[in-house]
Symmetry: C2
Subunit: 450 residues, 2 copies
Amino acid sequence: MPYTISPAFSPALLTDLYELTMLQAYFVERMSDTAVFSLFVRRLPPQRNFLLACGLDDVLSYLEQLRFDQPALEYLESLGRFSRPFLRSLEQFRFTGDVYAVPEGTPVFADEPLLEIEAPIAEAQFVETFVMNQIHLQTLLASKAARVVEAARGRQVVDFGMRRIHGIDAAMKAARAFHIAGVHGTSNVAAGQAYGLSVSGTQAHSYIQAHDAEADAFRAFARLYPDTVLLVDTYDTLEGVRQVVELARELRDAFRVRAIRLDSGDLLALASGARRLLDDAGLHSVRIFASGSLNEEQIDRLLSAGAPIDAFGVGTDMGVSRDAPSLDIVYKLVEYAGHGRLKLSPGKSLLPGRKQIFRVERDGTADHDILGRRDDAVAGRPLLEQVMVNGRRCRTAPITLDEARAHASGEIGRLPARVRALLPSDPPYRVDLSPALARDRDRLERAHEA
Amino acid sequence: MPYTISPAFSPALLTDLYELTMLQAYFVERMSDTAVFSLFVRRLPPQRNFLLACGLDDVLSYLEQLRFDQPALEYLESLGRFSRPFLRSLEQFRFTGDVYAVPEGTPVFADEPLLEIEAPIAEAQFVETFVMNQIHLQTLLASKAARVVEAARGRQVVDFGMRRIHGIDAAMKAARAFHIAGVHGTSNVAAGQAYGLSVSGTQAHSYIQAHDAEADAFRAFARLYPDTVLLVDTYDTLEGVRQVVELARELRDAFRVRAIRLDSGDLLALASGARRLLDDAGLHSVRIFASGSLNEEQIDRLLSAGAPIDAFGVGTDMGVSRDAPSLDIVYKLVEYAGHGRLKLSPGKSLLPGRKQIFRVERDGTADHDILGRRDDAVAGRPLLEQVMVNGRRCRTAPITLDEARAHASGEIGRLPARVRALLPSDPPYRVDLSPALARDRDRLERAHEA
């Protein structure tokens, strides 16, 4: 099945046209000095106390593989805007720069660079669109999932989002990002195959409906999959639970159904009622799995109210990050030809130069960060590492998915409780500018005014 | 550049695991009768008066190409849940069913099927996840874009969303859906190549910043691209406009800059100020292009206030459908083995059987719809057409992208003004049930209660 995600296109053309018009201008103007671009989020959404950096591995693969194929060059020529010499230069176009980044699974805050790219300006400029697209998507989804995992208080969370996540690429990357954020598994089989993730899923309402009686559906499914999860809410939830109890009586020792799933209605009342029915029948080991338009706030409310729910299937809300479906992420020129660069657009001003994030911890808990110059000598643990040299990954990059997950768990665990919590952190996590970086900015702004 | 959207996976595995566990159950239980699944949206988001159906072409390609490749079968075997005979049956698995759908670009309302799939139950069930994913994404984005186009009152709208749209597949499908909804062009070069869409884009702030003076950047860019658009807000917007005026004086007859672009700040005040500066310099033909966190409400407000803006670049808000980033879309079994099927979960009940939408028009304007049985004899224009027979597209399907765009424009034009408007339609567009369909539902519910 040669399914491609759309009619054929050249991967190098996954970019905004202006990257290419600018590239031709740099080519004509012979501007080839080193540029430093910094990727960061200007403001966190109000419902996020931190972001979980994610997506670096796909960015590094892209940078290593970037080539203009013949169809790309022919298409660009057909636009009538690009000269032969420029198009010929694209044949040899490669990414040859350096990349500094925080490891995937690192919590970051507003203004802190998730990565910085240093390369001849054409290369560093051109990759903007793709790099932003992937880091934005995966950081967005990992950040949302970290909240859902926190809300579930150690109970398993499973990704059910594929049907409403925005497209195939997002469905794959979501499962990946969710794993890093601590989600237990996914319903997405291709993600299981591609990333080695745990996959799960049993039955839909349609399976129940296709049988003349709910009990027939349960019996047939449990015969084939003895340790399955049975979906009980197709007609009447508690009646469905009674059918499961009935099946247990019928099968006796052969009954090994692992859980029931509730997918609609008042989950607190239904889970409590279901738990009582199961316990009264001695089915203490049958667990309760809940799904159906869940998000971190509902999970938190259910568990705070004592709902006897053992695991959660979370779909659309996590998969589209519904309460904050985008981040104010940007990729900005901060240095060119050795000089820091400014931008003063209202609400969009920039900090110049190569940077480092220093995380200052006290007794194993993060207290605040210092955003400084790359070469700053300030207190704290530096978070950005070099991950690519001259267009090749460093041997240590990337860490594996499971390493990123462990890293995320450790780093989130070191955040103050108020920052890990679902409610807005009061006060927000503090990020200071180092004196040297503040001086650089002030000097540049004064120079511009002069 | 062999960029794939993630580590390798088998396209047939782009599905939820439960589709496969159910498939094995149908296989073991020898359930192979025809099932009818209906895809519809249960409730429209409060900010949508209608949805614009989109994504059918990708669904039909998928259905035609669906095959389990060897790596897929090996992966499924490795899960330890599937029997050899079942896996062997998957080798021959093809979609052989029929599809009825509304043409892409058709406005639809809550409960109205965008498509119905009729096939042996295993086939109709299995395709659920992918079909939902694509129709959801493209309908979501086309519906949002139709609002932006309406707000722009005939001015051009360009898609700038690629950097924050959720992943690569969504960025491609977004450009496609936006075209159908009436958007003029896209910055996404791969979408231009794949779909033949108009692409546009000139320069970013980084290009301006990389030059020591804004005026140098403008001069160099206009020399290379005489009819370009110059971005004027990097440092001080009106000062940037003055630099453009200066450049016009310098270049005289050679000055052919087509437009300036504003990307931040108070767009009403800045566009008015810029217009005055340009007009005072006799540059009446230089147009004003606005971008920067725009959506349909801001565009409507700007134009209502008389902002002299000639075209809009719209990015994230349209690209993630920020005010409604998902639809309550479902794919439900409505008939199996010739019998209508029910579901009674709270808030999620179903209408049974094969359906048709009948649009009743008065004087060329849609008055209301009747949702009826497929074979109903009621007034109105039927909207669902057969687009696939025995797993093959009908010769008339799909219509081309431009046909879909023209269809959308015509159909949206026939909606009542209150339904096309941005504010919630009062009253909402009326969708009645046909007497025959209502009878079918009542009969089934009574039979279930008995």
